[in-house]
């Protein structure tokens, strides 16, 4: 069946006036959209989402907005040597907690007269779901990286929670040495967490592709020449995600994240759902979800901006 026929089938379902058929049409777009968002979202790959039930939320006194309170491992003042006859000092056990706040993310409502949509050669379902995916991921991924940037402050700034600089400018372009300098940023904080995932964009990846055999030291140089540097599970003992979203991850930036258990929490209260409404010949679509994601351990993120990169 070609796209035009899929279109006709889809639009016929929407304008059928039969509620079950309209739901079927919406559900088909739902499944496809959910799969693509899971595969293409940077946040969702760095911090996989867990389904959350409403009963798992934590009530607040002064608001009925949805929130979940998370606990972090309690800190302790450390052991000490004591002379004979002495006793150690005491301390009250306390614990850092943080909130994962939930809200709805929704796309704009697409509207159209079906009389015009029937003439489209492109699969309308594809238009609807592609736009929804792009829009929702922009909000999720943009919100995540914005939150990370704000936690880190600016290049060279000390993060108050850790007392360490976790956003550094590294000179000398992208080399084996400078990449390792970047990967060492996270380990310098008192939290001692190691990076598990690095996120760069395709322009940055091309800098790595320039490495010769002398830089890489093996057949990987040949592979980079033939296949390029793409998302991969293990390079410098870190998983790499390469994104085309230059607006979110800049050309000279490399974000590093710890394993999810040392990073934070991400929840889906309501998975992505497509709302479809057809009234006579007018149709409206939008996608919505209810999620929350938070970085609880600021020691689990780091960023390096590389200078001296040749264009």
């Amino acid at each position: 069946m070609n796209d035009e026929n899929y279109n006709k089938l889809f639009l016929d379902q929407l304008t059928s006036g039969n509620e079950a058929m309209v739901k079927n049409a919406a559900r088909a777009v739902d499944d496809f959209t959910r799969l693509r968002v899971r595969e293409e979202g940077i946040l969702r790959q760095v911090l996989p989402f867990t389904t959350l039930a409403y009963s798992d939320l934590d009530k607040q006194v002064d608001t009925d907005k949805n929130v979940r309170v998370e606990e972090m491992e309690p800190e302790s003042p450390g052991a000490m040597g004591i002379p004979y006859g002495g006793l150690p000092g005491s301390y009250q056990i306390t614990q850092r907690r943080y909130r994962v706040v939930m809200a709805r993310i929704a796309t704009a409502q697409a509207t159209k007269d079906t009389g015009q949509l029937y003439a489209y050669e492109t699969d309308v379902r594809q238009i609807v779901s592609d736009n929804s995916i792009k829009d929702i991921l922009a909000e999720e991924d943009g919100g995540w990286f914005s939150a990370c940037n704000q936690l880190l402050g600016s290049a060279g700034a000390t993060v108050s929670q850790t007392g360490s600089v976790q956003w550094e400018e590294i000179d000398g372009g992208v080399t084996r040495e400078s990449l390792n300098d970047a990967l060492s940023i996270m380990g310098k904080t008192p939290r001692r967490v190691q990076p598990a995932t690095a996120v760069v964009n395709t322009q940055f990846a091309r800098q790595i592709q320039k490495w010769g055999r002398d830089e890489i030291g093996g057949d990987l140089a040949q592979e980079l020449l033939t296949r390029g540097f793409t998302s991969r599970d293990n390079f410098l003992n870190v998983r790499w995600l390469v994104t085309i979203k230059r607006e979110i991850v800049g050309d000279s930036a490399m974000f590093m994240f710890a394993e999810p258990k040392f990073l934070g929490k991400a929840y889906a209260l309501e998975d992505i759902t497509m709302f479809v409404k057809a009234e006579a010949y007018l149709v409206r679509f939008f996608a919505y979800e209810q999620i929350g994601a938070a970085c609880g351990n600021v020691g689990g993120i780091a960023r390096a901006d590389f200078t001296g990169i040749s264009a």
């Binding site: 706040v101 709805r104 796309t107 704009a108 914005s146 940037n149 999620i291 929350g292």
Partner: protein, 191 residues
Amino acid sequence: MAEAPQMFDHFLDPKLGYPGPTALVKRVLAASADDEIVRGSVCSLDANGDCVAGVDEGALHGFAFNGSTDFDAIGDDGNVIGNLSGRGIGNIENLSLNEAAKPQMLLFLCTGGFELETTEFDPDGSYPANTFLSGDASGGADSGLIRPATMVYAEDVVGQVTDGEFNNHNAKAVVRFVTMHLPAIPASVLA
């Protein structure tokens, strides 16, 4: 001993005109996370299209459905929700990822046809039916509260009272009114 703060202490309750797909309810960013805007406040759009509490002459006005410190407006540090300072959902070119986050507010625009109840009014005013409503300009102590307008066309009018002032089902004093957008005539024209 004080009672714990409740979600309805500062509240905007739409009575007519909402919800609905055509309701003129607009998502805007608050101008700053440092100046709190409570739920129910009357707000104006500044020159950047951001929202401030108060009635600024000549601006577009609206009423805040959520507060600038609400979880869905601005999350705690590290939260994705409420941490996107760009304006364009889906328009990735408008994202601004390195600025301080601005709270995301939902405004019931005065140009929309709503009947609303708000807790945010000047308790010293009198609100019989048909009273035109305005408010102080932004930046003042009472910015965000509605009050009786001194004179129509001398200052921006944001609403007209319908059922007056009374205690609602939560025992909170509210004023019920319909929204209205009636800008003041500039002083240079009146002169």
